[in-house]
């Protein structure tokens, strides 16, 4: 394993120090792995988090127009309820707090346990669970779909809604609307290496890739030969579009995120973006806004995910609202 780290045991702690060092407007709740805005806002609080290794998620989205606090667990491990409670407290200005949870067993359990603890302290807490990964069958009786890069859209849109003074109920409603309209699919060219383990989680042959990869190096749904970017875009989009078809179709206008998993350079993401754009264009779908970059990563995994969000006027104006966070800035 080759990484710029001090030791596998201290990666999360060291990283969090590095984030606040680079962003003096943020603070770190020592020993709690919670990063929050120094200046507390008078609005519904937004908290997200989960295992580390997805940088810039989630601490990179703390700031005006997005989250109020982010809580980090160990690499790929959900943070415990105590830490999540700390994040809730850092985000709560009396208007209630919404937890934005990515759908993983661990996160769901720990975040809802934290909610119970917070309610015992009279903090109003509600939550939404993002489940955008179409590689997994959706179902109420199982774990259901994972939450992946689509979560960033939920952060952005809820953040804008909260910033305009929306109530907890309203913020939750627009979160649910976003969740209902967002779909993602991932792929990997290589595995990632968890620092504490020191070697890649699985092996892919020199000419293989895996479709339906999540953001923890969990095996995907199908291994196949690597293919040209154009074909890859087709295969990935096809899965998303077929899923939209079960729910009213892709519609006329979407926003697009081509997300890198950590070790894939921007050059390749832009190439994929060009092909995705072409296909959507051919299908008569307008792209409202495009995001290309590393937004929700899986350590040093090479690969990417594609996310589509069906747009309406409300989502457009919320997506366009100004943000000021380490990872998203301006009219992003």
């Amino acid at each position: 394993m080759k990484k710029i780290i001090n030791s596998p045991e201290t990666v999360v702690e060291d990283m969090l120090r590095g984030i606040v060092a680079a962003n003096p407007q943020l603070a770190l709740a020592e020993g709690m792995s919670v990063i929050y805005r120094k200046e507390m806002s008078k609005k519904v609080g937004l908290v997200s988090g989960g295992g580390s290794g997805h940088e810039p998620a989630h601490a990179g989205y703390v700031g005006r127009g997005m989250l109020d606090a982010a809580v980090s667990g160990n690499v790929f491990s959900s943070p415990d309820p105590e830490r999540i409670l700390e994040a809730i407290k850092r985000a709560d200005s009396g208007k209630g707090v919404l937890l934005i949870i990515k759908n993983y067993s661990g996160d769901c359990m720990n975040f809802t346990m934290a909610q119970e603890l917070a309610e015992m302290e009279d903090i109003e807490v509600d939550y939404v669970i993002v489940r955008d990964d179409v590689a997994v069958e959706d179902s109420l009786h199982s774990t259901g779909r994972r939450g992946i890069a689509g979560t960033v859209f939920v952060h952005k849109i809820c953040g804008a809604m909260a910033e305009t003074g929306g109530s907890l109920e309203q913020v939750k409603a627009v979160a649910e609307k976003t969740i209902a309209n967002v779909r993602s699919i991932g792929m990997a060219l290589s595995s990632c290496t968890i620092p504490a383990i020191g070697k890649p989680g699985f092996a892919l042959a020199e000419d293989e890739m895996e479709i339906g990869m999540g953001i923890h190096g969990e095996p995907g749904v199908g291994r196949c030969k690597i293919m040209p970017a154009k074909e890859l875009a087709e295969v990935m989009l096809d899965r998303i579009i077929r899923d939209f078809d079960k729910d009213g179709g892709i519609g006329g206008e979407v926003s697009l995120m081509v997300n890198g998993y950590g070790a894939t350079p921007l050059m390749e993401l832009f190439i994929l973006n060009a092909e995705v754009g072409n296909i959507l264009h051919e299908k008569g779908v307008t792209i409202y806004k495009t995001y290309v970059g590393n937004y929700m990563t899986a350590l040093d995994m090479a690969g990417s995910s594609i996310t589509l969000l069906r747009m309406d006027e409300e989502l457009k104006s919320l997506l366009d609202a100004v943000v000021d966070t380490p990872a998203l800035k301006g009219g992003a």
Partner: protein
């Protein structure tokens, strides 16, 4: 001599269990890498390391407080799914045994029944869905049966141990419904569940410790 464990004894077991877990790093990691995200061993190992580090304190506590402290410690130091689940499990045990002054053979059934119920509730799972409770469930059945059929303590403990180990092995043929293995094409069929395997190791360590204790 019939079984009666103090907090001090239970901490001795924790130390043994921690050593066992520590020695199985590669095996457990590989199991979780095959169907999950590969961190189950680091999670559970760091949890037991934390318990060992507070062993002196734990040994001095009343049984109920000790279990609660174990639960809180695991919850905050294991992380992930298993942290929440082990945390909930031990806290449930703490409630059930809050007036106990020691742990006898009958209490063992209570312990595992409480753990089973707490994990089921927190994890929204049933037996047979390829999770850690599939190591507990057969152990409980054996304990119930042994109680009815009047086996010796040693026999009971041995049977419990084997049932847990077999239970973990049986997860190989189960389809995952919760947890990360669910994301796999084959729902993890053909692979052991790492959480069930580590749980079976803990149950086996406990059985071994108790057997040693009554064999003295």
């Amino acid at each position: 001599m019939s079984l009666e464990l103090t907090s001090h004894d239970y901490v001795e077991y924790i130390n043994r269990a921690a050593a066992k877990i520590a020695s199985e790093g590669e095996y457990i990691t590989e199991l979780d890498a095959a169907t999950g995200d590969g961190d189950h061993w680091t999670n559970i190992n760091s949890g037991f390391k934390s318990l060992v580090s507070i062993g002196d304190d734990l040994a001095k506590m009343p049984i109920g407080d000790m279990f609660k402290k174990i639960g809180m410690t695991l919850m905050s130091s294991v992380g992930g799914s298993s942290g929440a689940l082990y945390g909930s499990a031990y806290i449930a045990v703490a409630k059930a045994l809050k007036d106990n002054v020691s742990i006898k053979i009958v209490d063992i059934q209570t312990i595992y029944c409480e753990m089973f119920a707490a994990i089921k509730k927190r994890g929204k799972v049933e037996a047979g869905q390829k999770t850690m409770i599939d190591a507990i469930c057969p152990a409980i059945e054996v304990l119930k049966k042994a109680g009815e059929d009047c086996y010796s303590e040693k026999e009971t403990l041995l049977m419990m141990k084997n049932a847990a180990i077999d239970g973990a092995q049986d997860t190989k043929y189960m389809e995952a419904v919760r947890g990360r293995a669910y994301y796999q094409k084959g729902k993890g069929v053909g692979h052991l569940d790492p959480g069930a395997v580590s749980m079976s190791m803990l149950i086996a360590s406990f059985a071994d410790y108790c057997i040693d204790k009554i064999s003295v």
